[in-house]
């Protein structure tokens, strides 16, 4: 067994480490501590932050890929599996033949069967990989499991809190309850998934729960990595336009007005289409289909980043213009402090709230955009698990009677919870960090 990281895996871990490092550095500032304290005073912010962390955890679990040794030779298998795949191994290869409803024991469509006497009848054939387990006992088991795990986590947290002498006006209890509910729901889904297809199966018999969980990585990565591409451009160009003014400002303004005037969906579509042609003409670049879909995801993220920095850049330029007129910046200029030191020490720290607000706001927009782009046909690779692809496939089955609703339902629920908590969290950040508001 050896660890094999995809390009997006590497990017997401780099991003995670830099965010943690950055958070650790700024957490020494009492002002920042106070701000985050105020953010988490709201129960809604607490709940949504925990839900977001849960999603992030799944994305990270799915971002560690392994390759196992082949059974007979010393070579490694060509397919990669992630930690999430290992946990859900019992639902990957157990493919049914076609659709089946959640918790169903039989197939969704009737099939011809011939009995011993040669009489053909149309019956619902039983599914191959489900067994009717005892739902009540398993539910009790999963509540117990969820209780134990969350109790351990909460106990660890309380001891750590006591050591640090944390004040208690933060709604920790709400947080603990959310944690318990989330862990219990997940352990219920997980325990049930050994007996049933908890959320049904899709057209080719794949397990919908597994697909929805795999889609978390795609959604979160598009939201997070696009930021990684967009931020350096937006900050560098926005700050230099606002700080240096003159011809630099003119050029940067010209660039973003031009880019902005191309309708973004069309620009993304055009770029992705062209990239597809390039990839089709160079099939040798990719060893496996996973490599290929991963590179396509990476391209998509870069394209989304290049097309979406203009909004933040404009905001940062305006704010930098304002800040550089304030006395303390003028004073440091008069003292002969170098321009880059002024930018680093005085300008950028004062832009942090705008950057943070727009990053969290963009995140939910990007998760939603992925679904639309996949529908248009310029999103992630069709072989990749994503909510957009799930909706796209389920949409074709709308006319069937009775309806195949479970794929749509699952992608809807998973997306809605993620986007809703991101929106609620960004609202709270905006309320607290925006200096015009008085909290």
């Amino acid at each position: 067994m050896k660890i094999t990281l995809l390009w997006t895996d590497i990017m997401v871990w780099i991003l995670l480490f830099s965010v943690v490092a950055w958070g650790w550095i700024i957490s020494y500032s009492p002002q920042v501590q106070k701000q985050w304290h105020t953010i988490f005073k709201s129960s809604i912010a607490m709940i949504s932050a925990i839900i977001l962390l849960f999603y992030l955890l799944f994305a990270l679990l799915d971002s560690v890929h392994f390759r196992f040794k082949m059974k007979l030779s010393d070579n490694y298998q060509s397919n990669m599996v992630s930690l999430l795949d290992i946990a859900f191994e019992h639902r990957i290869k157990t493919k049914e033949r076609t659709y089946s409803a959640p918790f169903a024991l039989k197939e969704y469509t009737k099939d011809i069967s011939v009995d011993k006497n040669g009489v053909t009848t149309q019956i619902y054939k039983p599914l191959k990989y489900v067994h009717s387990g005892n739902i009540v006992i398993n539910s009790i088991k999963s509540i117990a499991l969820g209780g134990i795990i969350s109790f351990l986590l909460i106990w660890l947290h309380i001891t750590w809190r006591k050591k640090r002498n944390y004040s208690s006006d933060i709604p920790w209890k709400v947080g603990y309850i959310t944690l318990f509910i989330l862990i219990t729901i997940f352990s219920w889904l997980y325990i049930m998934s050994f007996d049933y297809h908890v959320l049904g199966t899709d057209k080719v018999g794949g397990d919908v729960l597994y697909q929805s969980l795999k889609s978390i990585r795609t959604g979160v990565l598009i939201g997070v990595l696009t930021t990684l591409v967009m931020l350096p451009m937006a900050i560098a160009l926005g700050v230099s336009a606002g700080f240096f003014r003159g011809w630099i400002d003119d050029i940067i303004q010209y660039i973003y007005t031009t880019l902005n005037s191309i309708p973004s969906v069309l620009l993304i579509a055009a770029t992705v289409l062209l990239m597809q042609v390039v990839m089709d003409n160079h099939p040798k670049w990719f060893e496996t289909t996973l490599d290929r879909s991963d590179l396509r995801l990476l391209f998509l993220v870069i394209i989304l980043g290049v097309t979406s920095w203009t909004g933040l850049c404009r905001l940062l330029r305006a704010e930098t213009l304002k800040i550089s007129q304030i006395e303390f910046v003028k004073a440091s200029k008069a003292f002969g402090v170098s321009k880059f030191t002024i930018i680093r020490k005085h300008i950028i720290p004062n832009l942090m709230h705008i950057i943070l607000i727009s990053v969290v706001l963009d995140f939910s927009g990007l998760v939603l955009a992925e679904a639309v782009l996949s529908y248009v046909g310029v999103g992630v690779d069709p072989t990749m698990y994503s909510w957009g692809n799930m909706i796209n496939q389920a949409r074709l089955e709308m006319a069937r009677e009775p309806m195949v609703w479970w794929s749509l339902f699952s992608s809807f629920v998973f997306m809605f919870i993620l986007v809703l908590s991101a929106n609620l969290f960004s609202d709270r950040i905006q309320v607290v960090l925006d200096p015009r508001n008085d909290v």
């Binding site: 191309i262 289409l273 062209l274 042609v277 248009v376 909706i391 709308m398 986007v419």
Partner: protein, 325 residues
């Protein structure tokens, strides 16, 4: 005023040239005519002769920026870039892969797009402003807070789900309107009414929040307090004083999207089978028809730039404080 407008229009020219350069780079440099020929001809064994013939037929056989064979000014003008730019700027979009005149197609498909986009836009603005005013009137009450939570929820649902849910409920279960299709004339109403309603509903969340915050910013200003002190009722304060002043940022904010209404909505049109520009674009993207995509990119940018100019003009028209510079 006139000089100001002319100045704004002149300022749009370099932006248009930039857009043209970007589209050219995308469609001819990232994806060279040779690549295009290869993927168009499709066959495994493509000879260089076949590629040359294809390029000759499409008129792509000239050098990109500088033609070394030509003399004088032709060195620059007899190139693919100038040739394609002139075509685009004269709105001559050429022919699609299925040999249809793209310009004609666009003209035909504009009306169905407008039939959805314009009503959704107008009904949307009226509903959103009325809802926002209602929330401002009852600000701080349970109605306000619960509506704000509903607004965040509406914002958090992908537009795909509104369309699918609308089709299931109104067409499949209740049979009120046909699932998809279009016909010209007044018969179109039964086809466009559902997309319009869905478009309005999907936009409520973000717009109502935005308008409400604009109104709330205005409501703490002195002129509102004066109006109240005069003894005006809260309702007439809202309609006579708050609304005109709050409308200003809203109107100037939405002017920019008016020209782009012609482009229609990508997913709405393709879900409801409406033969507008949105579904035209989607079909072109799915069929990898670069000529159409290129035309739509250029058209969309031109319309957006017109929107920018209109925004600037509307500022000077509606807001007497803005001085012409």
């Amino acid at each position: 005023m006139l000089t100001y407008i002319i100045k704004r229009i002149l300022y749009a020219i370099p932006i248009l040239i930039g857009v043209n350069l970007i589209t050219f780079m995308l469609f001819f440099m990232v994806n060279t005519p040779d690549d295009m020929a290869r993927s168009q001809l499709g066959a495994k064994q493509v000879t260089p002769q076949m590629i040359e013939a294809w390029k000759e037929q499409k008129g792509y056989n000239k050098p990109l920026f500088i033609n070394p064979k030509a003399t004088g000014i032709d060195k620059i003008t007899d190139t693919l870039f100038i040739q394609e730019s002139i075509k685009l700027f004269s709105f001559d979009f050429g022919f699609s892969d299925s040999n249809r005149n793209i310009g004609e197609d666009i003209k035909q498909r504009m009306m169905p797009s407008l039939a959805i986009a314009l009503p959704s836009f107008i009904i949307g603005i009226v509903t959103n402003i009325s809802l926002a005013l209602l929330l401002v009137l009852f600000r701080g009450s349970i109605l306000d807070t619960s509506m704000m939570i509903v607004a965040v929820m509406i914002m958090s649902i992908s537009s795909l789900f509104y369309i699918i849910a609308g089709q299931i409920i109104f067409s499949k279960l209740w049979h009120w309107v046909p699932i998809s299709g279009y016909e010209s004339g007044w018969g179109a109403i039964k086809f466009v009414i559902l997309p319009i309603m869905i478009g309005v509903f999907a936009g409520i969340g973000s717009s109502v929040r935005w308008y409400r915050s604009i109104f709330l910013e205005e409501i703490n200003k002195d002129y509102i307090r004066t109006a109240r002190a005069k003894g005006l009722s809260e309702i007439s304060v809202l309609f006579k004083h708050l609304l005109p002043n709050g409308m200003l940022p809203i109107l100037t904010g939405v002017v920019v999207i008016i020209p782009t209404l012609f482009m229609g909505s990508l997913i709405m049109e393709s879900f409801f089978g409406i033969p507008g520009l949105g579904s035209y674009t989607i079909d072109a993207i799915k069929a990898q028809d670069f000529a159409i995509v290129k035309a739509m990119v250029f058209l969309g940018s031109v319309l957006y730039i017109i929107g920018l100019i209109l925004t600037d003009i509307s500022y000077t028209l509606f807001d007497p404080r803005v001085k012409l510079g």
